[in-house]
Symmetry: C2
Subunit: 351 residues, 2 copies
DNA sequence: CTGTTAGCGCGTTCAC
DNA sequence: GTGAACGCGCTAACAG
């Protein structure tokens, strides 16, 4: 097993190639990068030498040190990736982001919040960072990024200094939906919220939990609901899924049930509807349900959810555009997106 | 705007911090990395100096050059990301992969195949690469990676030298499903395949298209079907979705229709069923449909798809484990996963 | 068109 | 416990 102690399996580098080709390292560099005037003959000699030495081209690590750019943009999500991937809105957003960054030749590095056991935000060679639905817990990391001169864009996150924000009208939009219910005569309204903590714990929606929550989007939507129904309560789901909505719905509809439910995502809303079906409660006759997101869910029929349609792909795309501008030295303005209220057939007048 | 021409906005580096703290750079380095004997007093002085200079810690780019590791694993998908994200199997696989790599502190860099306009596989500072469903078109890139000593793992990809493969029994599994249909007395069977080219073109399944296809998984599944029905034909879908299945189904069931359909994904299968419903064709009485993947689709009820359940998360996880082992200098063995045939209520005897 | 000179910012030897 | 020196692999300037 020590038989390779002698053969010095050291990889060829640019200098070695240059030496073999009989040119200077810088010339060889130009031959590879294509940028700069190099005679065809010289380039050919360099490439031949590279092939002979089995040299695969300049090392990206060294290039990124030298150039000060790695071509990598970090994306930090609050949840573990496996959770994040389950949410269609995250996927849509990543979609837009990847599209825009890919066009600019930038790769997307998936990271998780510090402490979640995942890759550390502080050790990756990135040119810029996108925070997705992150809490101010990230303050410290963000400061470190600023110190390195790495621009930071945040999508639906608590405001932080020197962070460009791409926002959604979560609060106002939810308030719109709530007013819709109010106008339909509903007063006994309950919430099914997205997770409030990184732990994704289910349970009753209490003031303590709201106060201690780090989930920006969830909290904004709660605020919006309270703008209309100040004392609204409800339950917290462990994720954005039909399954979770079903669990929450069963809990909520078991006893002393509300006449309307504001679910913080369409998947949750559909779950609540399923729970109602189970219990023989008719939607929208006996129970009105509103969602959020505006995703098309296969098999939701015959229900057409009353919901808030948010431009998820556009959010990601806007973040991507902003990043590209920031890296080019520009100063893009913050963006705010609005959700469109769409009335379906899952809400009706209270009886 | 030139008022900063004088203040030299150069970022502080470790040397500057060391100088201010009155220690040598190497000592300062140790103070940050924690690895090595440094007195508490010295460390404190270094950290104080760092704070004073607004120094955010060692530069990851330089670290990765020096250490020869960047902590980044590239994931190359054949499709544009927006396509890839729509496929639940890809998501599940990424899920498992991210989970395993995250635990090892490795970040996931999303890349696309060269030529797709996205970030280039060759320029990213990665420690290892995972190829997902990629064709041998990547041969050249893979060679370049090998030259750099970057280990490559491929999930469901054409075999390439020195690439560790994590495979799925696509062919055998499909053959199992086909035999099931055969035993039910079906002989007029048609295929609805996943895309065969990066362009995602719909159309009839022709020999030319199969021959020219770069899609490994699709082709393997076609082979499996042909092991049982040698002359089976069908149509090519433009993606893995209910919508696409619906389009394919309409086409296939319009005239001269088969008694059974082998769809290459559950989403496609469900779309075919929807098309049948539209046309008043009963499933499974008039038409048998089998899928692939074993995803739970919301709203598929009352259908319980006859399908092949594949361990998607496990595939990703296995790739992650393999990567970690490879980076640790080990030589993990290739893995082959098998799909489980699950009989639902969408297949019945031919009439 | 090509060569020379300097680093990029850091980590790691090895001495002391 | 700390410092000095060197080099990771490459490329931006300039000089010729």
């Amino acid at each position: 097993m020590e038989d390779r102690a002698s053969d010095k399996p050291t990889r060829p580098n640019l200098a070695a190639v240059a030496a073999l080709a009989g040119v200077s390292p810088s010339t060889a560099s130009l031959a590879f990068s294509g940028a700069g005037p190099v005679s065809d003959a010289t380039r050919a000699r360099v490439l031949a030498a590279a092939e002979q030495l089995n040299y695969g081209g300049p090392d990206p690590r060294a290039q990124s040190l030298r150039r000060g750019r790695s071509g990598i943009v970090g994306v930090v999500m609050e949840d573990r990736l496996r959770e994040a991937f389950r949410d269609p809105m995250n996927i849509a957003m990543l979609d837009g982001l990847a599209d825009e960054l890919g066009t600019a030749g930038l790769g997307l590095l998936l990271l998780t919040e510090p402490g979640s056991g995942g890759p550390e935000l502080s050790v990756a060679p990135m040119d810029a960072v996108v925070l997705v639905g992150c809490s101010t817990q990230l303050d410290k990391s963000v400061v470190a990024l600023h110190q390195r001169g790495i621009p930071v864009v945040a999508i639906e996150a608590e405001h932080m200094p020197d962070v460009l924000s791409i926002d959604l009208d979560n609060r106002d939009a939810t308030a719109t939906a709530a007013r819709h219910l109010q106008q339909l005569g509903h007063s006994r309204v309950a919430l099914v919220t997205l997770p409030l903590e990184p732990t994704h714990a289910r349970g009753e929606l209490t003031e303590e939990r709201i106060a201690g929550s780090t989930a920006f989007t969830s909290k904004e939507r709660i605020r919006g609901a309270r703008d209309v129904f100040p004392s609204i309560g409800g339950v917290v789901a462990a994720g954005s899924s039909v399954e979770e909505g079903l669990i929450a719905g069963r809990e909520l509809l078991a006893a002393d049930r509300p006449t309307a439910v504001i679910a913080q995502s369409d998947l949750l809303a559909l779950g609540v509807i399923r729970a109602a079906e189970e219990l023989g409660i008719r939607v929208p006759d006996d129970l009105s349900v509103v969602g959020f997101d505006g995703v098309r869910i296969e098999g939701a029929a015959p229900y057409e959810l009353t919901t808030l349609v948010q431009p998820a792909v556009e959010k990601g795309r806007a973040a991507g555009v902003a990043i590209v501008e920031l890296l080019a030295g520009g100063s893009p303005a913050p963006r705010g997106f609005t959700s469109e209220f769409r009335v379906g057939n899952t809400t009706a007048a209270a009886r």
